[in-house]
Symmetry: C2
Subunit: 402 residues, 2 copies
């Protein structure tokens, strides 16, 4: 019989297991609150655009390879309002989720052996991609106000002395994933100064920036830069729905024109772009208010459950936005082991090693509070505490159990 293994090169990714549904208590990934998918308004938008403009689906990329023009125009408007960024619709490339933005930038700039600088706790998908490309990663610690710029400076100096020119500094400055930190404006300015001094591009991932709950967000790094060195990406996955695969990459045309040839997918989904453009023009900013109120509420539910069931066994910062809590355990708790045991009981967590290359990542854990409903959060955290106690002896006491 035919055996695919005979045709696979040695260092290929291991095979997938068959999917057997979501766990009962799902605290992983970036799933959002299903009740907040604005189905009524999306339906209205879909009806309108399909009837009025659906014919354009008969062509690939009807409004050009950068994507559906009305959506690009909305993105420029939204970025002006939120990120304080000026850009033209010719500096916006619509992509199939911000993951495609990452792939495109990496394909344009990186080859095996290159070096990049990135927050040492960062988006897991970025680590995976960079490792697969055999790119060297220099990690920078994340402080309460984002990337540690003095260590960044040291790193840039060391690399320069070694004759190594990093291809970019990748950062998630606004509601950092997983730490939830926000880099203030003055620090963003300093980051740009460093990038200029050492002549490094900045790759700013602003995927969670719409989910800042209380205060106004700082201007994006790209908005503060005047040199064209900042490549910026964002997404509608977090603000509207993860199932819609629509994000955007923003850069000067000089840069975008070099990225675009690598987008060989004959365009991102036309219907999703059309529906989003129509929906967002009417409802985006109102929807954000509703969404953020609910996310804040859910974060509080999770914090309460964590405090109740884990007590002072764990440490974390209360989120001010986004959908995650980044949690530290004492050193004798290994979250990769905790992950395995918890999965057996239907509790899914993201162990720190997937989201961080810092030395102590194996005692960290990321939880997403956006998707589960209140009772799932409460029961899931309780179940997790019981598993943790059984495995590692902490928390010593669990409320309502002892």
């Amino acid at each position: 019989m035919f055996n695919i293994d005979n045709f696979l090169h040695k260092d290929m990714l291991p095979g997938s297991k068959k999917w057997d549904g979501f766990p009962a208590f799902n605290f992983v990934g970036g799933h959002n609150d299903e009740e907040l998918v604005p189905i009524k308004d999306l339906e209205n938008a879909a009806r309108k655009v399909i009837l009025e403009n659906g014919k354009i689906l008969g062509k690939y990329n009807y409004t050009g390879p950068l994507g559906y023009l009305p959506l690009r125009k909305f993105v420029t408007k939204k970025l002006k309002q939120g990120a304080k960024m000026d850009c033209s619709d010719e500096e916006v490339l619509i992509v199939s989720g911000s993951l495609q933005a990452l792939d495109l930038v990496n394909e344009t700039l990186l080859k095996e052996g290159d070096t990049v600088i990135i927050e040492e706790s960062s988006y897991g998908g970025v680590f995976t991609r960079l490792k697969q490309m055999k790119v060297n990663i220099k990690g920078i610690p994340v402080q309460e106000d984002g990337m540690d710029l003095s260590i960044l400076e040291e790193t840039l100096i060391t690399l320069k002395n070694q004759g190594i020119f990093p291809r970019y500094i990748y950062t998630i400055p606004t509601i950092q994933n997983p730490t939830g930190t926000v880099m203030p404006e003055n620090k963003r300015v300093d980051l740009i100064k460093l990038a200029k001094r050492f002549n490094v591009p900045i790759f700013e991932d602003d995927c969670y920036a719409d989910l800042i709950w209380g205060e106004e967000r700082p201007p994006s790094i790209r908005a503060l830069d005047d040199s064209g060195r900042v490549i910026y990406c964002g997404t509608f996955s977090k603000s509207i729905a993860p199932g819609l695969r629509v994000g955007y990459l923003v850069a000067d045309w000089a840069v975008l024109s070099r990225v675009l040839p690598y987008k060989t997918d004959a365009g991102s989904g036309g219907l999703e772009q059309m529906v989003l453009a129509e929906y967002c023009e009417q409802h985006f900013f109102e929807h954000l208010k509703t969404l953020n109120k609910q996310l804040e509420k859910k974060s509080l539910i999770m914090c309460e459950a964590l405090d109740k069931y884990f007590g002072n066994t764990i440490e974390y910062e209360k989120p001010i936005g986004g959908i995650y809590i980044w949690i530290s355990f004492p050193e004798y708790v290994d979250t990769s082991l905790l992950y395995s045991h918890a999965m057996e009981s239907g509790v899914a967590i993201n162990p720190g090693v997937e989201w961080s290359i810092e030395k102590e990542s194996n005692k960290k854990m990321r939880l997403c509070f956006a998707n589960p409903i209140q009772s799932e959060i409460e029961n899931g955290i309780k179940a997790l505490a019981v598993i943790c106690q059984k495995q590692f002896g902490v928390p010593v006491n669990i409320a309502n159990l002892n």
Copy 2:
């Protein structure tokens, strides 16, 4: 100032030019008839699924990483009916257009220096991808009934003698792109025998198979194979709308499980999948009839225009399906030059060299008749004949002009 060029490796793709709209006479690409995008029924489908099931967009990949289950179920039904193929919904991976299927299979199987076998006239996107990956291409001539199997056999023998194991035989057996040929069932069986004898996987691209106008299509190669060596892909881009980026990859789970880890896009567009599933369940087969009738009509309009304005200067086979005509010029016509001159007059053609590695590809041309309306076909072909005459002296006489 920042200059992106300083950060680009030497062998990167050249930058894109700014898009300045579609040409007046657009005979390139795979655009379809805009009037035949079934907007009323798509709108109904969108209304229904968004209201009834839109919440699931709140999760990534609600029905698992293989894609939206109702759509996978429809694909299995459709493939049973058209391609005579049995497959389970766990052997179907929904992808963002069949281009993603190509990328995934290539990423899974190929590395620089590998060898693949492919029809020497084939889909341009495949040549581009393979060249970018620095993969060796062995081209097999296409006869009136598809790939020349005796040359395939010779090639397989030669490669074997050289100790080279081709990674796959890529073929478009049903309405081949660009030649429009259909490989009959007995030849498909022979192709499988060869693939077995030399133990090579087959990659069957069936993207145009729904657009066969008259007779019934032969069973797919995958349907005729019992060894699990055929990886199959298809698309809804050609049957419903190119702007919808939804295709499918079908393979035994043993194979699919190795491909799936390379799909790191967090899922294909959920809304497009949902709308398509609902639409197709109701209307797919009826729609195909309408579409194919219209495509056949347009092909006749183009054939008439070609005969009228080019006379016996050119040679081509009348299409029996699909959206293209593959045309041969006398040897003193260089279609790459013709392409440049025609573009200046707003007539877009695909020169042969983009679609073929055969020796005489520079006197070939591919025209798509699906998108332009009747007057555009007639006026565009006439304009092209005038340009060709001016440049190459043929056709000597142009109807209604001399």
